[in-house]
Symmetry: C2
Subunit: 217 residues, 2 copies
DNA sequence: GTTCAAATTATCGTATACAAAAATAAGATG
DNA sequence: CATCTTATTTTTGTATACGATAATTTGAAC
């Protein structure tokens, strides 16, 4: 983690958008942000540029920056793409994974199991990230891996809530097993299909998700 | 197009990376870039941040920015993802396209035909972009559309060369017809498959492409 | 001659200053 | 009283200045 002022501002604003403190359409005033984060306008501007780059804000020339919090529709759209990317990762991993990578994948998923056993959803969350990271690395396409990681990160704060939904963790784990099985068997089609579902089931549970978001707003 | 100094620097560097003037690993020195583009370091730094954001440069803290020109492997990876996204666009478009959008798609492709008839590859290129833009808009997922557009833009300078490869334009047009047919018939699977091929055939012709790139370097 | 340490230099990251453009307010005219 | 014009103010975009940290060079000791 960087100690740069710019990254702190970026992550700070990102967090506030995710939690709903900063609402959609709200103006991101450079001066007041600089005041709030106790830095000058320079790092604030850098942070805003990065926000625009990652799609969390829009910039109108000579008018300023505005929060672009993802709408319900936006999130459905992102999940639709996410499931496709995740599916592609699994498909490619089924063809390209090494035996060491399979071992690591299994070990990571055992971490998920122990996390569930201890009822620690934060721990499960971390192992779950690792699990998918294993697949990204095994897909043999670092560009795809990076894109998928990025999108996952963008849906991250919402997914974290998602995993806490009752009964989701064991189900998620079952899906993991199916994914591992398909990848190990080199069954690309099944790996793709199951991974797609794994993401989309979360997408279909949007009502649960929305209630959480509404609470935050 | 913006008149900002920062965007001019960004596009300038982007172009120089695409053409190979700026080689992989080369240092992007803020001072000399500012000198070269006749601006101060501030807009140069903004441009570098955007370059890093779009993956064309890497930044090592307190060490500076370095060109990250896509390698042969990188481009294969990007094509692999591109074909998937393009396929998904077509798949969704087959389910969601409106009759007006179909008409526009056909008209645009007629533009492609006349461009070929007149042997104008630049004109064909523009109509080809429009053709795919029609599909992006018809897919009903603006996030997916944006991501696909972005990746297409990144492969753009290479694709432009690609289309000039002998015999590629008529073949590309044939594929367009197949795509239109599948989308109009609402045949999502075929639309997906054909679109995937449409991109991948270009990817498979990498030897032709590479010779062009080598000439530039 | 080699190696390690201190001083120097260069460059990055941030702060501040300034200029240009747009939004807002004020005033004049009908 | 409404509206258009003009002045003020705010804010963006760029330039410059400064401090901190890493790279480089110089010099001394072995």
């Amino acid at each position: 983690m960087s100690h740069r002022a710019a990254t702190k501002v970026f992550q700070g604003i990102e967090e506030e958008i995710a939690t709903g403190q900063l609402k959609d359409g709200e103006k991101l005033d450079e001066a007041s942000l600089a005041e709030r984060f106790q830095v000058s306008r320079t790092p604030v501007r850098e942070a805003l540029l990065q926000l625009v780059g990652s799609g969390l804000a829009t910039q109108i020339p000579k008018r300023g920056c505005f929060v672009k919090a993802p709408s319900f529709r936006d999130m459905i759209e992102m999940f639709e793409v996410m499931s496709e990317l995740e599916g592609l990762c699994a498909r490619l991993a089924a063809r390209r994974i090494s035996s060491q990578q399979i071992d690591r994948l299994k070990r990571t998923n055992q971490g998920c199991e122990t996390a569930i056993a201890s009822g620690d959803s934060d721990l499960y969350y971390d192992f779950n990230v690792d699990f998918h990271e294993c697949i990204y690395e095994a897909c043999g396409n670092s560009f795809l891996a990076q894109e998928t990681r990025q999108l996952r990160r963008r849906l991250q704060s919402f997914r974290r809530l998602q995993l806490r939904v009752r009964g989701r963790m064991p189900q998620s784990l079952e899906e993991h097993h199916a994914i591992i099985e398909a990848i190990e068997a080199g069954d690309a089609d099944t790996a793709d299909e199951v991974s797609r579902q794994h993401v989309m089931i979360q997408g279909e549970r949007f009502n649960d998700l929305l209630s959480h978001i509404d609470q935050m707003r």
